[in-house]
Symmetry: C2
Subunit: 146 residues, 2 copies
């Protein structure tokens, strides 16, 4: 049959860097760090590209600035994700169950930890823990819906 | 065997308000709105409770203020979630596949829509769309890891 179909496919950037640390806890943390770090860096890349297109001029300094931002935000997102994934896994092991309460507790611990690491006041740390718990719970619930 | 075990269980607040709108698209949207709206309201409730405990005094005006905030934030979170769930479901129907690209596209549409609805400038709408896409993609990836 000479009538072929034209099939277009958008190649998706696959992030498949598996690093085995010999420990499921560490594996997940590193995995989360890498995957979500790439997402964070991509977000900055997309934003900076938009700004460059809009501004119309691409200078060397701007690209350098964008790269610096990518590294910084990618690292930040990666850290948050790594800590969260590790915490959630830890909660699962401690509680012996998988449900949304793991996400809530993991989110709260992550929020508190990241906030404390950024030298925030005690008040801010607790509010961040609450926010982290809420965001993680919401993300978990969204999964059940879709 | 007279030796029973003491089993404690924390009763979790279950949000089981199923409203059938007769359409899977609407059902999901309403479901997302209700579930995540409750999470948003709970976040404010927890925050306000912390502030009250810390401040030491609970006045009528404060409780009223907290309730107002709960409604407002609950509504906001609910709207974002409802739009996102609807968008993701729509993407799934259009693309005929379930993968992280649905989350990315749904997140971008949601970010743009919510931002445009808040009367933001065109620039802000696009940047919000990028952020929405990144956050949704990250949330989707986190699922695969854990």
């Amino acid at each position: 049959m000479p009538w072929g179909r034209i099939s277009g496919s958008l190649n998706t950037p696959k992030v498949e860097v598996a690093i085995d640390m010999g420990n499921p806890f560490l594996n997940r943390t590193v995995d989360g760090f890498l995957k979500i770090g790439v997402v964070g860096a991509s977000k900055v890349a997309a934003e900076e590209t938009y700004h460059c297109i809009k501004g119309g001029n691409v200078s060397k300094a701007k690209v350098k600035d964008a790269l610096g931002k990518m590294c910084k935000e990618g690292f930040y997102w990666g850290t948050v994700a790594g800590v969260y994934v590790g915490m959630e896994y830890g909660m699962e092991r401690i509680r012996g169950r998988r449900d949304w309460k793991n996400a809530m507790l993991g989110g709260a611990m992550t929020g508190a930890l990241i906030s404390a690491a950024s030298n925030n006041a005690r008040d801010k740390v607790i509010v961040d823990a609450i926010s982290g718990a809420a965001v993680a719970t919401a993300a978990e619930f969204l999964n059940y819906i879709t």
